[in-house]
Structure formats: structure tokens, C-alpha cells
């Protein structure tokens, strides 16, 4: 697993208070990890802070799963 994926996972575990094993790439923040809409806002902020990236509102709305988050951040970092 990439360093980014590892860090994303850690942030999700910490913010949503879920077991690490549940944070699979396919896991949906809302459907599988018990987040509500405010949790996802906070999560995106935490990603922005941790990776020093800007995630605009329309992009944030498309981040529904752990993989979505990893992909987005990896793309930003590669750019």
C-alpha cells in the first residue's frame, strides 16, 4: 500500500472511530463506515490539512469511498 493510502486509512480510523479492518478501499464513508454528512466534511478537511492539498466542494462531493479519497490525493500530488 502506498504511503498516501496508509495515511488516509489512519485519518479515517481516527475521525470515524472505526476498526482498521473495515477501512477497505471500497468502503463507503456513509454507507459502510457510519459517517454522516458533517463527518464527511470534517474528513475532507482532515485530508486537506494532512496532505496540504485543496479539495474544492465539487470534488469533495465525489469522494464517497476510501479509494476515491486516495485516488484524488494521489492525482493532486502527482500533478
Amino acid at each position: 500500500m502506498s504511503e498516501i493510502a496508509d495515511k488516509v486509512k489512519k485519518i479515517v480510523v481516527e475521525h470515524l472511530g472505526v476498526e482498521e479492518s473495515k477501512v477497505t478501499p471500497e468502503a463507503s464513508f456513509i454507507d459502510d463506515l457510519g459517517a454522516d454528512s458533517l463527518d464527511t466534511v470534517e474528513l475532507v478537511m482532515a485530508f486537506e490539512e494532512a496532505f496540504n492539498v485543496e479539495i474544492p466542494e465539487d470534488a469533495a462531493e465525489k469522494i464517497a469511498t476510501v479509494k476515491d479519497a486516495i485516488d484524488y490525493i494521489e492525482a493532486q500530488k502527482a500533478a
Binding site: 475521525h15 470515524l16 472511530g17 458533517l38 466534511v41 470534517e42 478537511m45 490539512e49
Partner: protein, 428 residues
Amino acid sequence: MLQSAGSDLGRRRVVVTGMGMVTPLGLGTEHVWKRLIAGESGIDRIHSFDPSELAAHVAGEVPEGPTAEGKLTVSDWIPVKDQKKMDRFIHLGMIAAAEAVEDSGWKPESEEDRCATGVMIGSGIGGLQTIYEASITVYEGRAKRLSPFFIPSALTNLVSGNVSIRYGFKGPNHSAVTACATGVHAIGDAARLIMFGDADVMVAGGAEATVCKLGIAGFCSARALSTSFNETPQKASRPWDRDRDGFVMGEGAGIVVLEEYEHAKARGARIYGEIVGYGMSGDAHHITAPAEGHEGAYRAMNSALRSAGVTPAEVGYVNAHGTSTMADDLELVAVERLFGEDAGKLAMSSTKSAIGHLLGAAGAVEAMFSLLAIRDNVVPPTLNLDNPSRESAIDRVAHHAQQRNVNVALSNSFGFGGTNASIVVRGV
């Protein structure tokens, strides 16, 4: 079942079937009551921040430690991931509510019962520390980093909101905000909702957590806090004593479960007592100082006794507002005026001497102490009352608890803005 307001209006009786409290004397109603009666104090030097640049260094903070020892471990009550969504006053309120609901044994399963169960938990100030921290974030140019939970963490009515969500109580969801009178207003208003038929059960009370730098600094600026006993914290709260020099802030929460009498009887609930009277008034005088002769307090007490249909002679105990400020003697004068010749038979104490002033939670905790005084026929002491600044026929229960036959008790709370509330409770 909810009865419609109509012919029953004004006749529905309201009793207390559950109690929960978090105070500087610890967690749990019986634990706190035992320590209070033993004359212990929960006042100490402030631990949660360094108070040395402020004039006041003492407060009543909820002791941290193992739950089994009656101390506070928030994560035993609220999952870590949810804690950051709530200011400390909500934590304390949720914990007191958990005890009260459990104590009452009321677990509504049907939709009908859930809709007949409401919540009315207030706070004098709300999430002050949360607002303070969020302000710093914005000030530092990081407004976009503000937590999405900032607003729901700070809102005063969010103890009510969170309690209703946790237990599925779908009745009236309300909150009182009247500074230091909040706790009494919440219980009194909630009782009236039951009397009026809006609910059969109400979880009611107050929560406060303003022992933070901004809170202490603010009351220091208003010259309201004790500053002469920084080296002897347990001596700082001394209602009616000639050396008193301001109140001592406390934090905590007090929550009761109120229930319509027949509803409680039908399910065999244990009944602590009845809310028989409630009175309110406004001073229309000054934002922080009481009116001459505390005439607003007099009217609130008088109105509470009238609504209870009891005479002063029947009242055995008054839990005074008694904050350890100059206003103590004004309240004393108002009580003397109300009780007249019966003053000599009365016991009146200020439990703020032991736990400090819990602001919006004070009235709720003190109403519970009044109910426990009736249950146990014991009145709690006024600590540090060494030399009363004013002599009185009223026994102010200096230093030690007393055995007393108490069947009716009155509890007072007065707040900034000239708001006064009194509640009368009776054994059932």
C-alpha cells in the same frame, strides 16, 4: 397515553422519578449527596488551565478519574469520535441524563410513548470554550478549517438535542436559557408541559462547563468572583459570611425525569417527590444587581408558594440561591419577609458553599438536593458560615447537616438580567 388538554388542565400532577448529577463532588446523585451531607467541599485550585494571570484561581471542577470511584471518564459515556462534536457542557449533560433516565426505569418502546416523552435541558451560557477555540481558528486566518461540528457543539439547546437522539425521545424538544436561573426554569417549564398535556414524561435540567479561561476572565471582569481565598480554595464559597467576596464558579449538570403522577404510578416507578409549585418574576432593575430588598425574589417565591397552595409554615427547608456575594443578605431579607413569624422554624442553606455556582445547572442540582432533603429528612449544610454578616431567626445550617422533618422545600435561582425563579417540591 397522552391526554388531551381539556378538563384535566391544571390537574395533572407532576412527580420526579429519576435523578442524575455531575458536580464538583463527583458523579452520581447518591455519591454527591453523601459527600454533601458529610460537609465535604468540591472547590479547589483550577486544574484545567493556568489561572495565575487572573484574579480568581479557584473553582469547582468535576474530578477526573475512574467511573467506579464517582469520577469523570468521559469515554465511558460518550464514544471518542462523538466527543469532539460536543462541548464539555454537552458531555456533562449527557452523563447526568444517562443516570437520570436509567434511574427512572423509563424506556419507551412504542412510537406513542416516545412521542409522549420530551426533553428540556438548558444551559446558562452554552459552549463557551468551543466558541473561544473556534474564534482563534478564524483569527489565525484558518476559517476554512473550522470544524463542521463547531455550531452544534456550541449551541445551548444541544444537550436536549443529543439526549433526544440517544434515547429516541420524540416529544417536545426544548431548552431554557436564563443565566443562573436556567435549571429551575427548565424543570418548572417542563413540569408545566406535562401539566398542559404536551408530554407525559420530560427529561429536564441544566448543564454548564464554563470553568475555562474566557469564562473565569469574564466573571472576574464583572467583579463577581471570589479572589481573597486563592490559597485556601475550600474557604472561598461562604454564603452569608461577613468575609465573603464573590462567588466560586462550578461546573456540572443536573437532570431529572419528570412524569405525570398516574403515569408513574401505573408503571410502579419510584417517586422522589412532586413538583407542586413554580414561580417566576423579573426585576426590571439592573443587568447584574438584584433589586432593592430582592423584591423580585420575594415575588417569585410568593408566586411559587401560591401555585403550590402551601403556606410558609409548611415549608421546612429553603435551598437558597446564596452565591456568596453581597446579594446573599438581600435574599435573606426577602425570605424573612415571606416567612414572617414562621422564619424561626425554617432551615435554609446554600449548597453552593460546597460545589460552587453551577450557573445554568445550579437550579436543577439544588432542586434535587431539596427533594433528597425531604426523602432523608436531612438538610445539607452551609459551609464556611463562620460569622454571619446579618443575624436572622432563620437557621442557615452552618457547617454541619441537620436532621429535620421536611415535607415541603423551596429552591431559589436568580440570574443576570433580573430573572428570578423558585420551585416548590413535596414528598409524595
